[in-house]
Symmetry: C2
Subunit: 221 residues, 2 copies
DNA sequence: CGAGAATTTGAAAGTCGTCAAACGACGTGG
DNA sequence: CCACGTCGTTTGACGACTTTCAAATTCTCG
């Protein structure tokens, strides 16, 4: 889903045209731009809580955020990581089903969902785009159920490093992959030992992409 | 998500009005009815394969179907089980991301997606409904990532029996919950031993719903 | 009624989690 | 500028939950 080489980048199917010289297909979400306001938020801050009324949706301008759910006993799930160009808060019914928090210092553009929904009523192209975004989100989530339900720790990490650089903590990664911090560390160390990757605390370089792809057991790509 | 007491029933938020005496809110999907054809399919048959062009979508009239994905080495994932009233094949982009197979003998109503999409262009109420269905589907899938990533075997089975009767095999259940057949058997036996449920091969009765809810660690309900 | 399949149960192994401690990076304050 | 405390990361030892392998039992259906 991500095409990450060096710096944190947007998803391949990023949701708002940021700086394409001549957008081949116009981005319907750009219709919202006039209703947006810009926010800058320091690292590890909450943007909204789980259960909050879904009043706003957001586009990541720069930085990185995570979606989070907590169980009563403290078990934590990180749903996804979002990078520049990604949008969130659109695929909700009435309330946010995840909390969203910044991973790094982040610049966001915020839009009132009422405007989005209202505009979608009169602009079929926008309505279509909203559904398409929901379907892409759904498909990515389905891909993750396969990872969580059937893949080993090594396969999970291989899948992960193919998608992301590592601006996020080991704990975040663990809670995203259904593992523990310790397992994440051990597997990353093993991948490094075998020459597949090069890891620093907050960065990553892929050394053997093709073997990683095998390990990840990805059908697509 | 399911309100199952005795016979396999539809999801609470079922997608087509089947026989409500006076539907309080008209169901936009009913607009498609004139384009539907009815199919009867024996048990354990494939309705469509993973990767097939998404030409049709379906509504379950009676019976039960499962969505399935396979990894190259044979590991299997059952995405969801669908009962009477549920629809599938709508939340796809161009191709089906899951195979769909019958669990029991099933009667389906089939609709050409071209008609659905075309009709959605002229009928905003239908377009809105399609997105809503996608969002409900997404939320249910997200709920499952928490189950698969963070819940124990017992918690998974508790969640499961609260949603479904058991017209499906232990293998199907295992592949749905990210477990093995043996673990499913053992946990079901334990739940029975402790008086939480009553199990026959293809049926189920809940004896202690409130304890099961605790076990399931559900935030909602 | 009999054969094959699904379910169930048992024993052993393995992967990953838990607990604990050492290490290292970073930021603050002296 | 360096000392120090804190927090995240890493590594080790151990343990447990789940899987694997195997076999017995039960059910289904021809």
């Amino acid at each position: 889903m991500h095409v990450s080489i060096q710096a944190p980048q947007a998803k391949a199917t990023r949701a708002l045209s940021t700086a394409a010289p001549a957008t081949p297909t116009p981005e319907p979400l750009d219709l919202l731009e006039q209703f947006g306001t810009t926010l800058r938020i320091g690292r590890d801050h909450e943007i909204h809580a789980e259960g909050d009324a879904a009043e706003f949706c957001y586009r990541v301008v720069s930085g990185c955020v995570r979606t989070v759910r907590l169980m009563e006993d403290g078990r934590r799930q990180v749903g996804e990581f979002l990078l520049a160009g990604d949008v969130f808060g659109l695929d909700e019914l009435d309330t946010h089903s995840f909390a969203v928090e910044t991973v790094t210092e982040t610049v966001l553009r915020r839009y009132p969902r009422r405007m989005v929904e209202a505009l979608a009523e009169s602009r079929p192209v926008l309505a279509r785009r909203l559904r398409q975004l929901a379907l892409e989100h759904l498909r990515a989530t389905q891909e993750r159920t396969l990872l969580l339900g059937r893949k080993t720790a090594t396969e999970r990490l291989a899948s992960f490093v193919l998608e992301f650089d590592l601006p996020m903590s080991r704990t975040d990664i663990a809670d995203h992959l259904g593992l523990t911090v310790e397992t994440v560390c051990r597997v990353l160390a093993a991948l490094k030992r075998e020459g597949m990757i090069q890891v620093s605390r907050t960065g990553l370089r892929l050394l053997d992409r093709s073997t990683l792809l095998d390990l990840a057991c990805e059908t697509r790509h």
